[in-house]
Symmetry: C2
Subunit: 105 residues, 2 copies
């Protein structure tokens, strides 16, 4: 689906149990209706030179920017963000209205 | 959809006409059947500190890793990559099997 996207690419700190973070994230998106879809992945394929240490991508979809704003301000998100930010070594975050240039059939 | 994802986040060089790159990319994904869906976006919302100069995200979906491999080796992709790589200031690239943790309804 198109909509408004919230994309994170992340390198976690070495001592972080990624499984725990994923559980927290799963709980978060299930608690907040504004999150219409959530998918993620771990790069186990790419070349280190191209992924530059980043290992995980997380992509959330909202109906529109209002949905995203509601998510950001939601108490559960505020609480989770505090935990999440202690777990990351580095992060890039992009928020954008999605343009679907080729649709899944 | 789940499947195998090819994610790029990019900062283009200053003199690049992004519109031309987008046209080339659009042509590329229309030429290669293995690309099941393609969406992209430009971050005009986020905080510079969090997006670290990156402005564009491109996300392609393949049925599986074989589809992705076919795409990478396709002559049109090889040709386009050569042009694309001259246009970028910096890039991070992640390839991963996607886990759908909350499905669009």
């Amino acid at each position: 689906m198109a909509g408004f996207k919230h994309l994170l690419i992340v390198k976690f700190k070495e001592d972080v149990v990624v499984e725990d973070i994923l559980k927290g994230m799963q709980k978060l998106v299930s608690e907040i209706d504004a999150v219409k879809s959530f998918e993620w992945g771990q790069d186990i394929e790419g070349e280190e030179m191209l992924r530059q240490g980043f290992t995980h991508a997380f992509l959330m979809t909202f109906e529109d920017k209002q949905g995203y704003t509601a998510f950001v301000g939601h108490p559960c998100h505020v609480e989770f963000s505090a935990t999440f930010s202690t777990a990351i070594d580095k992060i890039v975050l992009l928020d954008f209205p999605s343009v679907v240039a080729k649709a899944a059939t």
